[in-house]
């Protein structure tokens, strides 16, 4: 029975290919040059970072229900060889957006007269109007070592930022190469 189904599908597949092929016609260079990539991409997404706590459990990191421990992610970066570290610590929470768009757009008008001068294509990232932020937080700190478990660890927490609720972010980000093309 299964074999039969495969056979049937295969047959229908080849039939549709044949039909489709009959509808195609060749495009000459002149017609081809008038076609540009239209359309675009519409993106929605949700990014969550250590909402419940990360995978590492030790003297420093643990579950978010344990107030004595930190449960967020940690990013440490160094600006001098053998120097101390800048740290974004205890990063957690989530943010989501709906309707981030991505397309290529030709600009030849508008922008107070700049559009006509510019007359080129740009990559347009349409911002999603609202970004829903759910208890996003991070601590900015400076530390003597990259990891809190390293020997000689000392850290100064400078401030903690908490963001929750809807952030308004409207508009389009236009990205294009500069310099002389």
């Amino acid at each position: 029975m299964k074999k039969f189904a495969h056979c049937l599908l295969g047959f229908m597949g080849s039939l549709s290919v044949a039909v489709a092929h009959a509808e195609l016609s060749s495009i000459d260079d002149g017609d081809l040059s008038a076609i540009s990539g239209q359309g675009g991409v519409y993106l929605s997404g949700e990014i969550t970072i250590n909402e419940q706590g990360g995978p590492i459990q030790n003297a420093y990191f643990g579950s978010c229900s344990d107030p004595a421990k930190r449960c967020g992610a940690r990013i440490a970066y160094q600006t001098r060889q053998d120097g101390g570290w800048y740290v974004l610590d205890d990063i957690r929470g989530s943010f989501s957006f709906q309707g981030l768009t991505l397309r290529v757009r030709n600009i030849d008008s508008g922008f107070g007269g700049d559009g006509a001068l510019f007359n080129r294509e740009v990559l347009e990232i349409g911002l999603p109007d609202t970004i829903k932020v759910d208890n996003l937080q991070y601590t900015y700190a400076t530390s003597s070592t990259a990891r809190p478990t390293d020997a000689g660890y000392k850290q100064t927490d400078i401030y903690t930022v908490n963001i929750d609720g809807d952030v308004t972010m409207k508009g389009n980000l236009l990205v294009f190469p500069t310099g002389t093309p």
Binding site: D29, L32, S33, Q78, T79, R80, Q81, D82, G83, G84, W85, Y86, I107, F111, G112, D114, G115, L117, F118, V122, L127, N135, T139, A141, T142, S143, S144, G152, K154, Q155, T156, D157, I158, Y159, T160, V161, N162, I163, D164, G165, D166, V167, T168, M169, K170, G171, N172, L173, L174, V175, F176, P177, T178, G179, T180, P181
Partner: protein, 362 residues
């Protein structure tokens, strides 16, 4: 067998397309090639509005914590960001948020990697993040005036022109903070800038081989026809006197090609911010008079040092300026007290080092 067939099928169309594509390509001549340079990325924000604030009744939270007061028994300081906005220049202190453009298509915000030799930074690749550049006076707009026309100044960003249906590239910016120390009643601090311009600002980053460190050069230009600061009760309705700074111009230069700015963290986990001392390899050979001219001939080395310092001290690019056209405290339209204008010009940093200390540490 099936898989092999698929590959073959894919291969044929690719071949067909590649032959078509090559028919569309044309060779570039040497002359054409010479006009191509390493391009950076231009960024323009079109019809942009940003707004977020703390309104806990409506589930909006935006706060900064972790700071302690310096009293005998330190208390937690909680800073609530009541509003942070970027919008068109007629926002009425953040009340009406309309879209604005940031950067111009013909002079955008840019991220670029530049040959350091063109900036006087040796044989280095320099990462530059820059706001729109300043332009010649004939093409530019006055940096302060909200009704500036072409040919009135050196700023590239244009003011809004609602008559022509144009939002402009000069945003209103505002930050409203609630500062609460422990359980005391919080105070509101509001900072608003109208029609702000950042043209000519940049951050350049490169590596220092001797110190094995990331170093930077930072220039911040900030122009606004009105910068206002006031303090209100928690409701934001009853406010004290407002400090109005009309025609506010800040041109801050931190670090330059001879004195880069270093940012580092020391072994105790405190940050260190440093601007290198100005020095020249032959500065010890300068005569005690400090002069090298016709009446005071110097050795070649001393002359080189003299010329270096002369050009360093005469270069306005390395100096910081702050100009306030008029400062008024109170109600600007009624009985405000007029403190006149204030200027700090030609500030030069010869050496600067700032280290943080953790007051909470034993």
């Amino acid at each position: 067998m099936r898989v092999k067939n698929k590959k073959l099928l894919l291969f044929v169309p690719v071949l067909a397309f590649s032959s078509l594509a090559s028919a569309e390509l044309a060779t570039l001549s040497d002359d054409e090639m010479s006009t191509v340079d390493g391009a950076g990325i231009g960024l323009v924000l079109e019809d942009f509005v940003f707004d977020h604030g703390d309104d806990q009744a409506n589930g909006q939270v935006f706060k900064i914590t972790g700071i302690k007061s310096t009293a005998a028994s330190p208390e937690d300081v909680e800073i609530t960001v009541s509003q942070l906005y970027i919008a068109r220049a007629d926002s009425n202190y953040g009340e009406n948020l309309n879209p604005v453009n940031l950067g111009r298509l013909v002079n955008p915000f840019q991220i670029d990697v530049i040959d350091g030799a063109t900036l006087g930074i040796g044989n280095k690749a320099v990462l530059e993040m820059a706001a729109p550049t300043k332009v010649p006076f004939a093409e530019g707009y006055d940096c302060l005036s909200s009704s500036a026309t072409a040919g009135s100044g050196t700023c590239s960003s244009r003011p809004m022109d609602l008559g022509a249906g144009f939002n402009g590239e000069r945003p209103d910016l505002g930050l409203k903070l609630g500062v609460a120390v422990g359980s005391k009643t919080p105070h509101n601090v509001n900072i608003n800038a109208k029609s702000a311009v950042f043209d000519g600002s940049y951050l350049r980053l490169w590596g220092d081989d001797d110190r094995h460190q990331l170093v930077a050069e930072y220039k911040l230009n900030f122009y606004t026809p009105e910068l206002s600061i006031n303090s209100c009760d928690p409701s934001g309705q009853n406010c004290g006197s407002t400090i109005y700074m009309k025609n506010f111009e800040l041109e801050l230069a931190l670090g330059n090609r001879f004195q880069p700015m270093y940012m580092d963290v020391n072994g105790d986990g405190n940050f260190v911010f440093e601007v290198k001392a100005i020095a020249h390899q032959y500065m010890n050979q300068l005569p005690s008079s400090g002069k090298c001219d016709a009446g005071n001939p110097c050795s070649a080395n001393a002359q080189a040092a003299y010329d270096f310092f002369k050009s360093y001290y005469e270069n306005d690019e390395f100096r910081s300026n702050l100009r306030i056209g008029n400062m008024t405290i109170g109600d600007i339209n009624a009985s405000g007290k007029d403190f006149g204008s204030a200027r700090i010009e030609g500030m030069l940093i010869q050496y600067l080092k700032v280290t943080s200390h953790d007051l909470a540490a034993p």
